[in-house]
């Protein structure tokens, strides 16, 4: 690397310095415009058509949306997705945080091994977890029943049909998703806990705060940003549920559509029946729902955080 000497080189140097940020971000902008923006707008248009595969279109106005509102299957799909999202996030986050809190204690032996154990299920994709749990859940001989029946002989008979009984499909799904995702979120919390300034604990201890007060005064505000992040990604993730129920229920929506999710409904209508228009309408409904819910979560947690910061004068980022 030598110092630029002549003016021509200097000019080039200036230009590349000014152009660089645009060049660097250009690939993102280009792919985003072509494969993000265009399809988003296109799907808005497509949702007004009835289609038979990508070749034939018939304009039908808002008929797709009208159909969705009245379709009982769509309602089932929305309900199932909401129920799943609620319960999986409801159990996932406290469990993940609890594990992280324990594992961040220096006196725990074998932390590396424990961390690996809890995280390992996440290394399997949803598709593989689905196939595995599809077998673990079988009645009479499956591992889940063999393990739970002796613990709760009356509540869970040996021939409990987790995946054939419509009221058990959702618990089965939530259980499998917990197995998969608790460890993943635990890693985020662990990272957040490690980043909390240790001096703050020291200061709190000097002030005479017990462990519980330390937790409330130091830990909670310290891990707040990560918690919000985990909450929102976990929620968005559960709204996109598809592989897990679809493969676990043997390529179907399960008994009485108990495992039908919005994305599965979208896939079946768009890519099985070939109605890409209806699929687009479903996609828009899903996107709006996710947007509303995550904005709501942001607002809720954001205002909460602002109040706390007003009281304590925490740092901005």
């Amino acid at each position: 690397m030598t110092q630029p000497t002549n003016t021509h080189k200097k000019g080039w140097y200036e230009v590349q310095h000014r152009v660089a940020p645009y060049l660097f971000i250009a690939p993102f902008l280009v792919t985003f415009l072509i494969f993000g923006c265009y399809p988003i707008l296109k799907s808005l248009q497509l949702s007004l058509y009835a289609t038979n595969g990508p070749k034939s279109h018939v304009f039908v106005g808002f008929s797709n949306y009208r159909f969705l509102i009245t379709d009982p299957d769509f309602r089932t799909a929305v309900w199932n997705t909401l129920v799943y999202a609620f319960w999986s996030v409801f159990f996932q986050l406290p469990l993940a945080l609890g594990l992280a809190l324990l594992l961040s204690q220096k006196w725990i032996r074998g932390r590396a091994i424990l961390r690996l154990a809890f995280f390992s299920p996440n290394l399997m994709g949803q598709a593989f977890v689905a196939v595995l749990f599809g077998i673990l859940y079988v009645p009479q001989y499956g591992l889940v029943n063999r393990a739970l029946h002796p613990l709760m002989p009356h509540l869970i008979p040996l021939d409990t049909k987790w995946l054939q009984n419509p009221s058990l499909v959702m618990p089965a799904l939530v259980l499998a998703s917990l197995w998969m995702y608790v460890g993943f979120n635990m890693i985020y919390f662990l990272a957040a806990l490690q980043a909390v300034d240790q001096d703050l604990y020291e200061a709190a201890r000097v002030d005479g705060a017990g462990p519980w007060h330390q937790f409330l005064a130091v830990t909670v505000p310290g891990i707040k940003p990560v918690s919000v992040f985990v909450l929102i990604t976990a929620t968005i993730g559960s709204f996109q549920l598809y592989e897990l129920p679809y493969l676990m229920l043997n390529n179907s929506a399960g008994p009485k559509n108990a495992g039908l999710t919005i994305v599965m409904y979208l896939f079946q209508n768009g890519f099985v029946t070939g109605d890409l228009g209806l699929a687009s309408a479903i996609g828009w409904s899903l996107a709006l729902g996710v947007l509303v819910i995550s904005l709501g979560q942001l607002r809720l947690t954001g205002t909460l955080r602002n109040e706390m910061q007003a009281g304590k004068g925490g740092k901005a980022r």
Partner: protein, 276 residues
């Protein structure tokens, strides 16, 4: 922190709880391994391992599904290419956002945040149409190009690169280093933990993805492992041992990668998520 090394009853209870939970979490995986070693008619006669262990499931797997060897390489190819492409473009964009002031930076950042919230399923139908018109359906390009830049990756890199001291960059500029030279010679070498973490995240994402490849790929010779496995579920639904053997083969590489990259992974997430 290390006030006393003694184990109080509370601490012993905590250990018991944690290790018991770890056992519960690992049990399905142990069962999975056990299932691959059991013969067809012994699958449910023994809860875990049978007295005699057989490799028949793996032999059947490769014999009956002639193309499985292909599926493994297909998945490897697709995932590693995707990792490299995403790594390059995402870190470049992250660098741009972290270290430059330029017109349109703010709207672009907001745009990116918005895309994180829009579920990809929204665009599946028109994207399929678009790729169909571009002739990219049933090709790997149809999978690689639309996902060439990972927004999540941009955020990760923006975060880690913003912690690189500006003095380093200025010093390089003094030496006449070009902006890309700075990226290549200065910024990326000090961002290696994040690079490692991102590689793993990106690899796992592609290796395990199912829905979109299932829509785009039609030719059996192009199938990835998850699609091949779901096909096997259809044809050999009776043979759990074989299915589990297929699953094990699909999971093993990710496991090994994770073991190798574990340190970077956690370090990267620490950098990325805490301040995110």
């Amino acid at each position: 922190m290390n006030r006393d090394q003694k184990l109080s009853p509370g601490r012993i209870a905590a250990h018991i709880l944690l290790f018991a939970m770890a056992v519960v979490v690992l049990t399905p995986l142990v069962w999975l391994v056990a299932a691959t070693t059991k013969g067809k008619n012994d699958q449910f006669h023994y809860t875990f391992f049978a007295p005699t262990i057989t490799a028949q499931n793996f032999l059947d797997l490769f014999k009956k599904t002639e193309v499985l060897q292909r599926n493994i390489w297909n998945s490897t190819f697709l995932a590693s290419i995707t990792v490299l492409v995403q790594l390059f473009f995402s870190s470049l964009a992250g660098f741009s956002l972290a270290k430059y002031e330029f017109k349109g930076k703010k709207p672009i950042t907001i745009l990116m945040l918005a895309t994180l919230m829009i579920p990809g399923q929204l665009t599946m139908a028109p994207l399929f149409e678009l790729l169909h018109r571009l002739g990219l359906v049933d090709t790997y390009l149809g999978l690689i190009i639309p996902g060439a830049v990972s927004v999540f990756g941009i955020f990760l890199f923006r975060q880690s690169i913003s912690q690189v001291p500006d003095e380093l960059l200025q010093a390089a500029r003094m030496d006449g280093c070009s902006e890309f030279g700075i990226y290549w010679n200065v910024v990326m070498p000090v961002s290696r933990p994040m690079t490692g973490a991102f590689c793993l995240i990106s690899f796992m994402g592609t290796w395990n993805s199912f829905l979109w490849p299932q829509i785009i790929l039609h030719n059996r010779e192009l199938f990835t492992l998850p699609i091949a496995l779901s096909q096997m579920v259809g044809v050999y639904s009776q043979e759990y041992g074989m299915l589990m053997a297929g699953t094990l083969i699909a999971v093993l590489p990710v496991f090994i990668l994770f073991l190798v990259l574990q340190k970077e992974f956690v370090a990267g997430l620490t950098a990325g998520a805490v301040k995110g």
